[in-house]
Symmetry: C2
Amino acid sequence: MSHWESIDGHIATPAGFRAAAVAAGIKKAKGALDLALIVSDAKGTSAAGAFTTNRAAAAPVLLSRHHLALSQGRARAIIVNAGNANAATGRAGLEAAERTTKAVAKLLKVPVEQVLVASTGVIGVPLNVDLISKKLPALHESLPSEDAASVTRAIMTTDTFPKCCVMRAELAGKTVHLAGIAKGAGMIHPRMATMLSFITTDAAIKPRMLQAMLAEVVERSFNRISVDGDTSTNDTVFMLASGASGVPVRPGDRSRSWFVAALSQLCETLAKMIARDGEGAKKLVTLEIAGARSPGDAERVARAIANSPLVKTAIAGSDPNWGRILCAAGYSGARFDPNRVDIRVNDFFLCRKGLDVGFNEAAAKREFDRKELTLHVDLHAGSASTRFWTCDLTHDYITINASYRT
Amino acid sequence: MSHWESIDGHIATPAGFRAAAVAAGIKKAKGALDLALIVSDAKGTSAAGAFTTNRAAAAPVLLSRHHLALSQGRARAIIVNAGNANAATGRAGLEAAERTTKAVAKLLKVPVEQVLVASTGVIGVPLNVDLISKKLPALHESLPSEDAASVTRAIMTTDTFPKCCVMRAELAGKTVHLAGIAKGAGMIHPRMATMLSFITTDAAIKPRMLQAMLAEVVERSFNRISVDGDTSTNDTVFMLASGASGVPVRPGDRSRSWFVAALSQLCETLAKMIARDGEGAKKLVTLEIAGARSPGDAERVARAIANSPLVKTAIAGSDPNWGRILCAAGYSGARFDPNRVDIRVNDFFLCRKGLDVGFNEAAAKREFDRKELTLHVDLHAGSASTRFWTCDLTHDYITINASYRT
């Protein structure tokens, strides 16, 4: 049971997977990759999913959730498009998602419920399925030869860099792989939505366990980032386990914690990439909340700070404005005594027991000038803690989100 | 029992009140008015208050709440300073507030618990009480001659215009007045906080009833606005009723609903002024949420939309982006079917039954170009409704909040 190491690779690096992308004309930019297919060749491939909690969930979310239930956690393919979220599209949208998965199932000769679908892009605009149907045969034919790394680019919308993480370890002389890709959080472009992430592994993991592990890890990675506090209609994480490495991961076994640690590291890495690439963001901010009365209280404080426009603009301006941080904690709903709170940026104390420590302004500003910084908030009200990632709020956020049509 | 009419006036227009302001050197700008005193000469003046729910409530909030309890709803004076919020200042901050109220009580020869105090400005910086003590005698002496209108300016921080509303009506041959002033919501300047509002009337109203009416009205006026979703440490509304008009307002009497209607109009007017004057705001946005399953659901939807940076930047850019509005409703926690939702701006439909109506883009943009616009969201899930006010999110918000020190 070796340590996991990061390696170069792509979503199809784990054994048993193939992936390809193509330009289908869904994105406005001509010739931009916008349709991708991830396929597992292993019959018993396990699948798990985590979805947005938004009540206005998009058609692909509704259909994929349904497919995972029907197949009892088995899937052989993920079909994903960028450029149109197929959200707020009603019955026609659901039919579009159904037609897409049926076409993929026919090409791959697998049951339709073993095809998962995800979309990202404009909300409220009908998805032209013909664009997808027309390109599917070529996409399928290119699977053996295609550069699977292009899939990472195909799912991008206004992301400024591709997000991919691949890991490898040895167990009993066999090599096991874990790979993940993701696209930007926040509803980045007008009418654009969604964070998406797809994860593959060649470990052998039963569906129920895969789902439990994914839910556990998503909760402390992708569910711990915030760009603007807007929960998209399309957020989706899919994970497929082909078993092709011959390495089993079993419940109640050391292999479980070994694998969960790697999956956590992978998801955390992707989540931080998403926060760092938030609309207009210049800084990655890690929040370390400690001393809360309960895990729920720790999370409330983290979310209030992560979503406060005032805290985020202060960070953009390198203003060591700890009063705003304390204020956000104060309205979070968490129970604590403000006169016991300590706040520091990195290792630099700003506030002790709720009071200004009389810090050197220039030195504090230097801490906030870093591209990556950590805000530590100790409530001294209990022993619960949490970690959260966010970014600063800059002029570019407004530009990106207000001037799309003008 | 006549209709209420708007008149010119100030916070001391109701009979029995006097008010004055002075420059005490608390604000950075030299010579700026920053200390104000509102006094009632009537011994039995009733008082009521509504305060921030922030757990890190500022010293003046803690002390005023205590005073209102001790005096059983009686007060003779409000002392208020701008430039320093006296928040996150610990025990020393509480002592500063106590010293201030004691000095006022001594000058006016009233019990200390009948003096209320409010502060707005920088958080986390000790309040220099000497600046206040030094100026109190002069402030007191100027009461008979002073222009009470200056009080409205003295409580401003980064507000761009003064906020005042005065009303008058007749009852049984007697004239009764209602006056209110307010300062900006949102934590406008770095380390700046607070919305404050002070209301006076010469109607005769018992303390318990005054408190009940104020709480009822604040809930649907000041508690229905949002600039950036940040709840300040200092938010305070005080109301004083001198009884000097000889017009009584009694429970279970038609005078109650007559007076509540006027108080609602006054508070709504001030609340809308605050939303319109949000940091960097160019537009006043009224949200009309209808068809919710419960009042709580209506409020959840309103708050989610009012606080969504994506909705607010779209409004700034006049982008008829109804998908973001539906999306915010979707993550609000309210129960509804997205396929039944109607959304319009003013009288212009954008979305019916969750689907784009195929509207004319230029015509929709013209609706969003207005300085005042109303977004109607009908969930078609029940019969509860609510109204809420917010503003757009512009580049100037970032400039105001990020560049204070740079």
